[in-house]
Amino acid sequence: MRAWWRRRRNGGAKAGADAFALRLVAPALLIEFLFVFAPLALGLYYSVHSVRYFQLGRFVGFDNYIAVLTSPAVLNSFVVTAIFSFGSLIFTFVVGFALALHLERDRRAAVFMRAVVLVPYVISMLVGSLLLKWILSQDSGVPQSVLGIFGITPFSIFADSSAAMGALIYNAVWRDAAFAMILLLAGLKSIPLELYSAARVDGASAWYRFYRLTLPLLRTPMLITLVRLLMHFMNSLTFQLILTGGGPANTTETVALRIYRLGFEDYALGRANALSFVVFLINVVMIVLLTRLFRPAEKLR
C-alpha cells in the first residue's frame, strides 16, 4: 500500500516536471516551427507549382526541378560554387591552422593577436567585402601601386575572371581564417601537455611531435572545422553579391547568388524554391555528416 502510494506520488511529480519542462521549451519550438520549418514546407509546396509573380498556379510536379537542374546558368553556378568552396576551404584551413599553432601559447602577445585576427570575422561581411572591393578596385590606386612593384601591368581585377575568383577566395580567407583558428585552438587545448613533455623526454623532434602527436589527436576537430567551413562557403552569398556581383560574365556566380537572382530579380519563386530545396538537401547531408563527427568528440570528453 505504502509502495503504491509512493510510486503514485513520484509519478505525479514526474508528470508535473514534464509539463513544466514542456512549457519552458514550447515558445522556442513555436518560433522554430513558424520561421524555419513552416517556410521549408511552404517552399516545398511552391516548388511543385507554377508561380508567376507571387500568383500560385497549377501543380506541375517536378517541372521546376527539371527546369532548374538542366539550366546552363544553374549548372555553371554549381561548378563556380565548387571551385570557390574548395579553393577557399584549402587556403582558409591552412592559414587558420598556421595561426592556431602560432598563437597557441597563452602569452600576452598571442592573446592580443588572436583578438586582432578576429576583427575581420566579427565585423559585418557586407562591410568587409565592401572594403576589399574598394581596395582592389583601380579607384583606390592600390592595385596599380602593388602590381607595379612586381612588374605586372596594372589591370582591372574584377574584369578578369580568374583574378575575380582569386579576389573572392582572398576575401574568404581574410574573414574566416580566424574562425578556423578558434575551432582548431579549442582542439589543440584539449591535448594534454604531458604527452608533449613525455615525447620530448623520449627525444622526439618538434616535427615528429607535430606529425605523430598533434595531427592524430586533432583529427576530429580538424574534420569538424573542415565540414563547418565547407558548408559556410557552399552557402556564401555576401562575398559574391558585394565583391564581384557574380561577374565578369557570371564566372563567379555561385548557387546562393543564382537562387537570390532567381527569387528576387526574376521573381521566379517556383524555380527559386526548387533550387533552394535542392541546396537544402545537400546541406542536410552535410549536417548528418557533421553530427556523426560530433558524437565521438563528445565521447572523448
Partner: protein
C-alpha cells in the same frame, strides 16, 4: 652570450610575423578609415596617400543628411529586441533541457542542433515566400522574429551548457524552503547565469547588427531599413563616390569593434558552440 642572442633573434622573428599578420588583418579597415577622412579629390589620387594629409568629416555629414540616424535607430531597435527575445526564450528552453528528462527531449535537442546548422542561404526564398503570404515583409517585427529563429538554437546551446555547470542542489534547497519550480529558476539560477547570458547576448547582438542578407531580402521600405542595407543602397546611390560609402562602413562597424574589444573573452564560446554558420 650566444644563447641570449638566439632568444633575441627569436623574439624579433616572432614580432615581425605578428606585425605581418596584423597588417593583413587590419589594413583594409585602416585604409578605409583613412580614405573616409580624405576630401573627395584626394581619395582617387594615384599613387594614394597612406596617411591623409588633410582630414575632413564632410562624408560623415553627407550621411547624416541622408538619414543615417534613422537607419542606425532601426538597427539598434531590431538588434536589442532580438537579443531580449532570444535570451528569454533561450534561457527557458536551455534550462528545461539541462534539468528535466521530459518526453521529446531528444527531439528538441535534434531540432536545436539541426537549425543551428542550416545555412540561411537555403532558407531565404522559402522564408520570403512565407512572409509575403502572412504580411510580415517590410516590418521590424518580421526581422526580429527571423533573427530570433536563427540565433535561438545557439543561445539554447550555450545556456544549456552553462546551466549544466550550476549545481542542482541550489534549486533543491530553495524548493525545500518553499520556492516553486519557476521561482527557483528565476531567483536562484538566473542570477548565477551572468556569463552565459552575456556570451549568448553578444552573439545575437553581433549577428543581428551585422546581418545584411536577411534584411535586404525581407525589407525594401526606407522606414524600416537597417544600417547594413542602407550601406548597400548607398553603394547604388553614391556609385563610385567612395567617401560617403566608406564613412557609412566605418559607422556600421565601429560599435561592433567597441563591443568586441570590451567583451572579447565571452565571444569564443559562441563561435565554438557547435553551429555551422560561419
Amino acid at each position: 652570450m650566444n644563447y641570449r642572442r638566439a632568444i633575441l633573434l627569436r623574439k624579433a622573428i616572432h614580432f615581425a610575423i605578428n606585425l605581418t599578420i596584423a597588417a593583413f588583418a587590419l589594413a583594409p579597415l585602416l585604409w578605409g578609415l583613412g580614405s573616409s577622412l580624405k576630401p573627395t579629390n584626394r581619395i582617387l589620387q594615384v599613387p594614394p596617400e597612406i596617411i591623409p594629409s588633410e582630414i575632413t568629416f564632410a562624408h560623415y555629414y553627407t550621411l547624416i543628411e541622408n538619414d543615417l540616424f534613422r537607419y542606425m535607430g532601426n538597427s539598434a531597435i531590431v538588434s536589442v529586441a532580438s537579443v531580449a527575445l532570444c535570451l528569454v526564450l533561450g534561457a527557458l528552453a536551455g534550462y528545461a533541457l539541462s534539468r528535466f528528462a521530459f518526453p521529446g527531449r531528444k527531439g528538441v535537442m535534434l531540432i536545436v542542433i539541426t537549425v543551428m546548422s542550416i545555412p540561411i542561404a537555403s532558407l531565404l526564398v522559402p522564408t520570403y515566400t512565407l512572409l509575403a503570404n502572412i504580411g510580415l515583409l517590410n516590418s521590424r517585427v518580421g526581422l526580429v522574429l527571423l533573427y530570433t529563429a536563427y540565433e535561438l538554437p545557439i543561445v539554447i546551446w550555450i545556456m544549456f551548457g552553462y546551466f549544466n555547470t550550476i549545481p542542482r542542489q541550489l534549486e533543491n534547497a530553495a524548493m525545500i524552503d518553499g520556492y516553486g519550480r519557476f521561482e527557483a529558476f528565476r531567483r536562484i539560477v538566473v542570477p548565477l547565469s551572468g556569463p552565459g547570458l552575456i556570451a549568448s547576448g553578444l552573439f545575437v547582438l553581433i549577428a543581428a547588427w551585422n546581418d545584411f542578407v536577411v534584411a535586404v531580402v525581407m525589407t525594401s521600405a526606407e522606414a524600416v531599413r537597417t544600417l547594413p542595407v542602407a550601406v548597400y543602397f548607398y553603394l547604388g546611390f553614391f556609385g563610385r563616390e567612395w567617401g560617403p560609402l566608406l564613412a557609412a562602413s566605418m559607422v556600421s562597424i565601429a560599435p561592433i569593434i567597441l563591443i568586441f574589444v570590451l567583451f572579447q573573452k565571452y565571444f569564443v564560446s559562441g563561435v565554438t558552440g557547435g553551429g555551422v554558420k560561419g
